[in-house]
């Protein structure tokens, strides 16, 4: 240990010296990051989560600011779900199919988190499963009525999202994940069912079985 580092660790509480020696071993200086979350935002039981992150142009009911946070990272649930449906209606303004049918489906979202000095969301993968005979022509994650991500539906109704797919008003996948954790996002799915177009939507919420972040990329 150099004399400089000795001085450093003398200023650390004795109980945490070994911890800091391991933490700082080979670590490079990075911008200090403080990410604050309400417990509600980390669990599936509250509909009133909050986050200290800012989202520059979001119309969601969250703190706003004028610039993207400096690589704020993400700490929260890694698994989300959404139930989408539309009810039978004869209202001409209703976008759902007319007739004795109801279109519904379910989607899951798995966050792949990149481990590092600042945990961040590397990608989001998932699937959308609609009722039999319903086809999907498009799907999107919405924030405050605006499209945050257009989901490119691959084979088997699966999708994969990267940072480059996220609309600029949400900054990146970390911020999108924060919005998902705070229940400020919805999934909208459009398609055809028995010859009629349908549009269904539902809130994206943390999966109750998701206990916390899952590090998939070492």
């Amino acid at each position: 240990m150099s004399d400089d580092k000795k001085t450093v660790f003398e200023n650390v509480h004795p109980d945490r010296r070994e911890f800091f020696k391991k933490l700082l071993a080979g670590a490079a200086f990075a911008t200090p990051v403080i990410a604050t979350f309400s417990i509600d935002a980390l669990t599936a039981d509250s509909a009133n989560a909050e986050s200290s992150f800012c989202f520059p142009n979001s119309t969601a009911n969250i703190t706003s600011c004028n610039q993207c946070p400096a690589d704020a990272g993400y700490v929260g649930p890694s698994l989300f779900e959404a139930h989408v449906s539309t009810s039978l209606s004869n209202d001409p303004q209703d976008s759902g199919p007319k007739g004795p049918h109801r279109v519904n489906g379910q989607a899951i979202f798995q966050l792949n988190l990149l481990k590092g000095s600042i945990p961040s969301v590397l990608s989001i993968i998932g699937t959308i499963n609609m009722v039999f005979d319903a086809t999907i022509t498009s799907a999107a994650i919405m924030v405050g009525g605006r499209v945050a991500v257009n989901l490119l539906i691959l084979g088997g109704n699966s999708f994969q999202i990267h940072n480059s797919n996220v609309a600029s008003f949400v900054c990146d996948l970390d911020e999108l994940a924060d919005l998902m954790a705070s229940r400020d996002t919805t999934l909208t799915v459009k398609g055809m069912y028995l010859g009629s177009p349908y549009t269904v939507s539902g809130a994206i919420v943390p999966d109750p079985s998701s206990s916390g972040p899952t590090i998939l990329v070492p």
């Binding site: 200023n11 700082l24 200090p32 309400s38 000095s117």
Partner: protein, 75 residues
């Protein structure tokens, strides 16, 4: 407040506000040095030594301290 050393820094749990703070390694170190006995300049100098920097990161340390104060982590 409960300070939990983690693989990538500190996790601080505020029971009364039911909030969790994640501090990356640099911020965890700044928090550790914030004993009330070290000045901002001294903390910046210690961070400089810890990471072998040419100059003390005074600006970054100042911003981090202000943020932690805003969040109620420091008085």
């Amino acid at each position: 407040m409960e300070v939990i050393p983690a693989d990538e820094g500190f996790i601080i749990y505020e029971q009364d506000k039911d909030r969790v703070h994640y501090l990356n390694p640099v911020t965890a170190l700044i928090y550790e040095f914030s004993t009330g006995e070290n000045s901002v300049e001294r903390i910046a100098e210690l961070v400089r030594e810890a990471f072998g920097l040419a100059e003390p990161p005074s600006s970054e340390v100042g911003v981090a301290l202000a943020k932690m104060k805003d969040e109620g982590l420091l008085r």
